[in-house]
Symmetry: C2
Subunit: 327 residues, 2 copies
Amino acid sequence: MIRIGILGYGNLGRGVECAVKQNEDMELAAVFTRRDPDSVQILTQNTPVYSIQEILDHKNEIDVLIICGGSATDLPVQTPEYVRDFNVVDSFDTHAKIPEHFANVDKAAKESGKIGMISIGWDPGMFSLNRVYANAILPDGKDETFWGKGVSQGHSDAIRRIDGVADARQYTIPVPSSLEAVRNGQALELSAREKHTRECFVVAKEGADTGRIEKEIKEMPNYFADYDTTVHFISQEELNQNHSGIPHGGFVIRNGKTGWNGEHGHVIEYSLKLDSNPEFTSCVLVAYARAAYRMNLEGMSGCKTAFDVAPCYLCRQSNEELRAQML
Amino acid sequence: MIRIGILGYGNLGRGVECAVKQNEDMELAAVFTRRDPDSVQILTQNTPVYSIQEILDHKNEIDVLIICGGSATDLPVQTPEYVRDFNVVDSFDTHAKIPEHFANVDKAAKESGKIGMISIGWDPGMFSLNRVYANAILPDGKDETFWGKGVSQGHSDAIRRIDGVADARQYTIPVPSSLEAVRNGQALELSAREKHTRECFVVAKEGADTGRIEKEIKEMPNYFADYDTTVHFISQEELNQNHSGIPHGGFVIRNGKTGWNGEHGHVIEYSLKLDSNPEFTSCVLVAYARAAYRMNLEGMSGCKTAFDVAPCYLCRQSNEELRAQML
């Protein structure tokens, strides 16, 4: 049994807990929290919840620690810190800062002889993998990534910070005609506006000026100004009833040409349709935790991304079973 | 530069030649043939064509030999033989015999210290990889593979062997309603007939009994009897004009449940739409030739499949570039 530890018990930590339950070769050994451990109720029976302060006392009980913190402030500190004592996996998703995070984790992991698996999830993660595979196969081509339909947490938060807004949920939606054009092999230079629309469901506080709120949303730089945005004002009850899920998904599509004169076209498409973004991300984290454990057993150490992991390390089946059943 | 050798110059060998041209870090060093080398015209200027008899004289000029023979009789002999002197890549696709082929290649490759990369292409190959990734992520789920729309060479050949048939082309086509049901997350047990239909374009010899030919096709065990099959009799001119391409493709779709009680559903879909089956297969072979070269440089040897290859070995970009550009 691979003994998994969870650091941080929010949506992602709970997702990891559920995913561990689905994998017969794993057990949840402990959950570590910054909160008072007595205040944290987990789903798994007989698994202890400890304060993060005590984590090093339990290092011999954990094969892989899955770090379920946020990319803004938690992971840049926690991943390099805990890879000194544990094989770790994180879902660091600030694309621009990945090289820096990689360097920090790699240095600490090489010193400790552990594996630090970073930026695991679906983007970065499975989508990144599909970009690499498709680029390797079709070097003379172009890829596009579309996200959605799904809830963007960052954009929802941005709306909630507007004066007069009680609650909000934002959906990112691919533009169907652009998706279809890329899928049909057309090589286009698509602007942000041509790729995605943004749909917002907003609960206004009593007496708030909805016209002003709508204008502030639509003109918000980076978040909304470059997109066609629609705003719907609804009640808190309606938001709770129809928009409480965290679905997401998207598409990675690469077109390429082959032949002596580029006479043949090809389309590679990978897509995800997810009822729960954090639970799916958690499933990916857990598969890569298995890989981290196995690769470290074989003597590997240092920082790894999905690009560095041979697929055979991810499945609980043996290599012989994989070749017989899935090749 | 990675120096590629091609063994066997048919559709696949020519596809490899075209793919090598698209990859800046590769050059075509030589083509080896069982035919009279003087009778083989290749596309690349200044690359020699040699008889297969002379292949060992050129072993120091080749980094990876891509073996472009057939799975029935060529590859089971050639891959174990040539891995004694070369890193090799093949597209062995007889699923049931992969374990045996793996064992033979592995033994020879471990003795020689070379890499023997087998069963590379899209199925086996990219589709297999997507089954493994999706199974690892969603262990509580089910996957289906659909093939087509595309030309099945084996089925076309089977029709051509019928008395009175001058030429034929067979298309395998996914049943749209089944594809849609699987895509929408329905867990179904689909029969062969429910998954694919078969459409045949047949040129009858003059005076042949088309009724008898159609009956023989539709009742042919394994090939057609288990499918809804349509047969169109057309002229050789029409066949040549409208059915001379070798398109193919397909879909690997996995549905799975997550959550403490399986309350959330997810769909992972990978699909290919290929104008030229052999050229796309060739592109995959070439990417894995790069991996074979790099892995062997790092001291690895033995038989490998796509499951054993970390994606970073496939792209000509450095790991730093991949992390910065594609993660």
